[in-house]
């Protein structure tokens, strides 16, 4: 396999960032001290607990990425060995697993955590152990500055950038008066706050913020609180009541509905052809990565699907009804490729080079769309440890998602809230 554009860019950036004098000895040493010892990557995965449905696809995607990377020579000629530990989607257990990776498994780095509370529970331990910890979470916790120098999110964008990037499209195409329906806890509050600010910048306004208690399973009474002049309904319901939510929304509005926009997190891994979801036809969704292969599908997306074993509808090649978590799982693939690029740029030899690996990744900057980045180009912010990338807005059409808009990376940017590079390594 040809070397990916990412790793070339990454290496150039490192050379620029660290200075050739500093980087060259490392590279030289790497050339001279080739070892066939595997690079051990600790894979902290939600095998059990509430994250298990995501964990299954994170596992499958990560194994596919490792296979592809190893087939192309691994990292610096060394194969990757993935060491899997289940964190039970449990923050405390997550910290214990990080510890196990460092001590019992002698992992070089750890990656893969999705659920925010597990990231927040695990990251401090990784920081204390000075163990590079690559999360694939979407949470704003990395870029907000609440974590540490050793925690990075280079393979998936964060919710703040996702939500704010929706505002221009919503304001220009769907309407400026938005009613928001969201679950009444941190996840929903992030959407409420980030989108309210972003739509205001577009000259729009949020005319109602309807918070639904997390244990609610009947929604009609909340729909009655949507103002009459609402042009767009923004929803981000999650959990087992989500299909009931859609059904009751359909019963409430009938044929005369406002424009409706949602986040696919609600229906990730759910078949859109499920009876009861017909009402969503014509409505819009954010997607992290288009579940259905589009007419202009890139060769990279095609390669990614084949490697993971996902068909053009985002379902498993071995079972067309087994729908993947396509909006999120690319993050594992891309993160593993960033680790590879970072290790190669840093001339990574072993745990003693962990700090150099962090610096190498902080210096990365732009990443081109490629096999390593099939979701699209990225721009990594070394100060905030967060990557930024394109977002997708799709419309449901006959039980499929059809891409309508691809945001620019600029749409997703916001001022830095932290500079991790000022913290000691």
């Amino acid at each position: 396999m040809t070397k990916s554009a990412t790793s070339k860019v990454g290496r150039r950036a490192v050379l620029a960032g660290l200075g050739a004098a500093a980087a060259m000895p490392g590279l030289t040493r790497y050339v001279q001290a080739q070892s066939s010892e595997p690079i051990r990557i600790g894979f902290q995965v939600h095998r059990t607990g509430i994250g298990a449905a995501y964990g299954r696809w994170y596992d499958r995607t990560s194994k596919a990425a490792v296979k592809v990377i190893n087939a192309a020579g691994g990292i610096n000629g060394r194969p990757i060995e993935l060491v899997t530990e289940d964190d039970g989607t449990d923050p405390k257990r997550g910290a214990e697993v990080v510890e196990k990776f460092a001590t019992a498994h002698r992992a070089d780095v750890v990656f893969g955590t999705l659920f925010s509370h597990v990231v927040i529970g695990s990251a401090p331990r990784a920081g204390e152990l000075k163990l590079p910890y690559f999360v694939v979470s979407e949470g704003h916790h990395v870029a907000s500055g609440m974590l540490n120098r050793y925690t990075l999110q280079p393979g998936i964008t964060d919710v703040k950038s996702q939500v704010q990037a929706m505002a221009p499209f919503v304001a220009d195409n769907l309407g400026k008066k938005v009613a928001m329906i969201f679950p009444d806890f941190a996840f929903g509050h992030d959407h409420r706050d980030f989108f309210s600010a972003a739509i205001a910048k577009q000259g729009g306004e949020v005319v109602a913020k309807i918070a639904i208690p997390p244990t609610e399973s009947s929604f009609t009474k909340y729909f009655a609180r949507i103002p009459r002049d609402t042009e767009v309904l923004y929803h981000v319901m999650v959990g087992p009541a989500v299909l009931t939510f859609v059904k009751e929304m359909g019963e409430f509005f009938g044929a005369s509905r406002p424009e409706i926009f949602g986040f696919l997190d609600s229906l990730e891994a759910v078949d859109l052809a499920t009876p009861g979801l017909e009402f969503l036809d014509g409505t819009y969704f954010w997607e992290g990565n288009p579940r259905y292969a589009q007419a202009d599908q890139s060769a990279h997306d095609k390669f990614f699907r084949e490697a993971v074993g996902v068909d053009a509808n985002g379902a498993s090649v071995s079972d067309a009804k087994d729908v993947s978590t396509y909006s999120h799982m690319f993050g594992c693939w891309e993160t593993l490729h960033v680790i590879k690029a970072g290790m190669e740029a840093a001339g990574y030899q072993g745990p003693a080079d962990r700090a150099k690996l962090i610096e190498a990744i902080e210096a990365m900057g732009p990443m081109a769309e490629s096999r390593a980045h099939p979701q699209g180009a990225k721009r990594f912010n070394g100060k905030t440890h967060q990557t930024f990338g394109h977002q997708f807005i799709s419309q449901v059409e006959g039980g499929r998602l059809v891409l309508r808009h691809r945001t620019s990376i600029e749409d997703t940017l916001y001022p830095d809230e932290v500079d991790y590079t000022t913290r000691p390594l």
Partner: protein
């Protein structure tokens, strides 16, 4: 998953609906479960009415004649030794094999194959466990000729109650019950403890001290296709407590995932904090559930006897009626663990194909992807739900018939039996409602 034997791990399975998929319960919420629940409860009520209307002789067939099943002892000891060897190999795999609980044959073999599937097989085919138990053979080999102590009669099956509850606590409250290394340590420790007790007290310990064995033995007495083993433990208050507690453990494991319960303990089910945060709650909840159910059941039995003025029969009738609850416990077991089994049995095949997770294909399977698509489609979700509901309803119907037959025999007259059964029958009807509600209510997965 694991309860019995070996390990103590028993309940882990429950604890670990690894396959959980939000779409499944989302689709269930769209099913006309109200109608199903009414129909299910009506079926149990109709069974109660049947006991009023049908001839008394009909019910005696539900009480087995109690043939002592004399398994060919030598052969059973050999299979027991083989079972011990397999268990030891699994423990080694747990310690040194793949770290992923869904790729390691120890948690998959014990929690899924043994704990989820074996009780169901016992209920269908009889006491297979008598052949598979990993202690009897090694005890016969090593314990021969040793002088044994007699287990005091007053101990009843209390040690079995304790070990069953401990297994339940491990499965329900431990933060990572299916972590391979942790499970291996627990299994090895529990095997050694039970083995030591077996050396001291002989096979009596397996019958009266080892809760998972007792549960499997009791379940085997439901088997329609085999002669039923005689009850090998004395009827006593401790046996009654064991049966009710087994039902309570199985019920709490399920209830503790419901939005209702999580609301009660002020936990947001959509941001479930993880098992570690709920250790105390789960321990307290399980113990409270066991205590409450025992009190309610004993009160029902007593109230029924008061109606007939036969409270003197309480000590004899209470454990006998409690035995009928084993049918319900099995129904809950099947209903609650079915979805986990559907997914984890696939992982089991994958792990058997590649036990060290090094890319082997011992079964000749080169590409294997676990699927959960049956949680994603209305017709399969409906089919699964109906199987679960049928397990609950069928179990309660059987329990009603068993309880009536027990009362008939104990009290000797039909009117007294019917009257004495009224509170217990009401208990079973309400428990049906509870079980079906549990299948239909939103849960955190």
């Amino acid at each position: 998953m694991s309860r019995r034997l070996f390990l103590g791990l028993a309940l882990a399975a429950t604890a670990t609906p690894a396959a959980a998929h939000v779409a499944e319960r989302a689709l269930v919420l769209l099913l006309p479960t109200d109608i199903y629940i009414v129909a299910g409860v009506a079926a149990v009520v109709a069974t109660v009415l049947l006991t009023v209307l049908a001839p008394a002789g009909l019910f005696q067939r539900f009480l087995s004649p109690g043939l002592e099943s004399e398994a060919p002892r030598r052969a059973a000891l050999a299979t027991s030794c083989a079972s011990f060897v397999v268990l030891s190999a699994l423990v080694v795999l747990g310690l040194f094999g793949p770290r992923d609980p869904l790729a390691n044959l120890l948690p998959l073999g014990l929690l899924t194959l043994w704990w989820i599937c074996l009780p169901v097989a016992q209920a269908l085919f009889g006491d297979l466990w008598a052949w598979l138990d990993p202690w009897r053979g090694p005890l016969a080999l090593l314990g021969r000729g040793r002088r044994r102590w007699a287990m005091p009669a007053w101990l009843g099956v209390w040690p079995a109650v304790a070990s069953y509850v401990l297994a339940g606590l491990y499965a329900l409250a431990d933060p990572a019950p299916d972590d391979p290394a942790r499970l291996a340590a627990v299994v090895a420790g529990y095997w050694l403890f039970t083995f030591a007790m077996g050396l001291l007290f002989g096979a009596d310990w397996l019958r009266r001290g080892e809760g998972l064995t007792l549960f499997l033995t009791l379940v085997a007495r439901l088997a329609p296709f085999r002669r039923t083993p005689a009850l090998s433990v004395p009827l006593s208050g401790s046996l009654a407590v064991f049966c009710v507690t087994a039902l309570a453990v199985g019920s709490f494991d399920g209830l503790n995932e419901s939005f209702w319960w999580l609301g009660l303990i002020d936990v947001n089910p959509l941001a479930f904090p993880g098992r570690t945060a709920l250790i105390g709650t789960n321990v307290g909840g399980l113990l409270a559930a066991a205590l409450a159910l025992n009190l309610v059941f004993a009160a029902c039995v007593y109230a029924g006897l008061r109606l007939t003025g036969r409270t003197d029969a309480f000590a004899g009738l209470w454990p006998r009626l409690a035995l009928s609850l084993i049918a319900i416990a099995l129904g809950y077991h099947l209903a609650h663990l079915l979805t986990a089994a559907l997914v984890n049995l696939q992982y089991l095949v994958a792990a058997a194909n590649d036990p060290l997770a090094q890319g082997a294909a011992w079964l000749g399977i080169t590409e294997f992807h676990v699927t959960t698509s049956f949680f994603n489609q209305r017709h399969t979700v409906q089919a699964i739900w109906l199987v679960q509901a049928a397990a609950i309803v069928g179990a309660h119907m059987l329990a009603v018939l068993l309880a009536h037959a027990v009362a008939l025999r104990a009290l000797g007259n039909r009117r007294a039996a019917l009257l004495s059964q009224a509170p217990v029958a009401a208990f079973m009807v309400l428990y049906t409602l509870f079980g079906l509600w549990l299948l239909s209510t939103p849960v955190a997965l």
